[in-house]
Symmetry: C3
Subunit: 208 residues, 3 copies
Amino acid sequence: MGFSLIPKEEQFFDLFDKQAAVITTAAACFKELAAGAKFDDAGIERMKDIEHQCDEITHDIIDRLNRSFITPFDREDIYELAHELDDLVDMMFSVSKRMRLYKLEGNNPELVKFTELIGQSVRCLAKALGSLRHSKVHKPILVCCIEINRLENEGDHLRDQVIGDLFDKASDPIMVIKWKEIFEGVETCLDIAEDVSNIIESILVKNA
Amino acid sequence: MGFSLIPKEEQFFDLFDKQAAVITTAAACFKELAAGAKFDDAGIERMKDIEHQCDEITHDIIDRLNRSFITPFDREDIYELAHELDDLVDMMFSVSKRMRLYKLEGNNPELVKFTELIGQSVRCLAKALGSLRHSKVHKPILVCCIEINRLENEGDHLRDQVIGDLFDKASDPIMVIKWKEIFEGVETCLDIAEDVSNIIESILVKNA
Amino acid sequence: MGFSLIPKEEQFFDLFDKQAAVITTAAACFKELAAGAKFDDAGIERMKDIEHQCDEITHDIIDRLNRSFITPFDREDIYELAHELDDLVDMMFSVSKRMRLYKLEGNNPELVKFTELIGQSVRCLAKALGSLRHSKVHKPILVCCIEINRLENEGDHLRDQVIGDLFDKASDPIMVIKWKEIFEGVETCLDIAEDVSNIIESILVKNA
């Protein structure tokens, strides 16, 4: 299937650009909360607003998908893409809520580092999504995908190191339970970004 | 694709009605066990029987699906619907088994409240499934879907409140581990019901 | 769709044989590490190499799938099959890494037992995958699938027993957290094997 420029198809690209913009905002807000030790009610409320915006765009994409006969690439891939991007914002929101629920201080250097990795990954993701319109030009998209995979690997190592430390120094099991969940949560954000990157790569192959 | 009344297709609706009936029984039994502090061998055996019945119906649906050329709605949606409904019963069974394994008393007011929310959600689900035969009449189905989403939100808040309390009052980390898992399990039941509701909504849109 | 013998289709069967061989190696290595208390750097490195080999074969299958017009069975089933098999090796690798991270001794009799169950399940899986070439002959494949399901059930019981013991004897919550995760991890390996078996069964039905 080729990439035509029928306006109807263009609308999918516009919606993915909108979703990419919301995810970028979510990652920036998440990093700000982590760096500023601000997982307070106001901070959670901001994350919630962003999560809600993302929900609406996701809903728009699925709705349009269900009503469209012609799509710029495989129906199933559009569906997966929209849902995984939504999951990514949900996960950042979810971790933020748990930080507050567990009354954990932000300003934890490893947590800040993780939100930076997520920020970098999301930046690559937004770039790759934006380039899907011109998906015949593979090179710049693939460069983004490789970087997203590298960041996921870096996150894997960081999580293992942090969780190893947590258990080695463990005096309070309650703190182990709390922080283990938080660090597995932020690493999952990088996993989801990698899932999105895999979907994008398979779209490229199919449309080669 | 329209909704014809070919008997072969009708059989799918009959099977989903059967599955809805089993899930209703599962939710009633689950609530009874929670309210009566009865996660004993006899109670678990009852849940197991119900779970087994649900397995058989799910298997029937998938088997029929694999053998059918014509289906009342998208093959993929029927598949997802049957599996998610099966997952819902599996989850109730799973939580019940963990209650016994962890030697936890039922009669916990928040657990009872959760089984009530699940009961309400399942009632809406059964109604929505039963209305799929007449899926051109969207309104009553959508009312059910909205209520299922509302119940999932209520469950989210309840889980956060219960888990927050658990950690605030935590003296025994072992009890925290046990109850945290139980409450995340019951909330997952409401999440699965919401997933089913989302599938039903997308079926409506595709057949509009 | 029938099973033709076009070489292009044969290549999928060859790749699944290769994937089956790698999974067999992974299960053997995993069992050896568990039996020999050797979750040390060298052991993890061996698991990592195997996981990497599996990644490459999975990538080959998906790539070939995206480029093929004709496939020996449903595109979606090939995709799911390759991914679930990859997940199985990932899970064994993941549990191995956690054993080292948590500085847990292997030589735990229940862990050894689990790696034996996984070994048996993987043997059945390899046999079933190898028989897909001759998928008109259902009987030997179904015998494998039934055995895989039986092994998953055995694993379920073993996990419940081990986790029950863990909590009954719990003095150190940190050890409960560590071992609970390990035993849920090994049980998940058997779950994934069962998922693969279910996909194989549905391939049989569709091609009956």
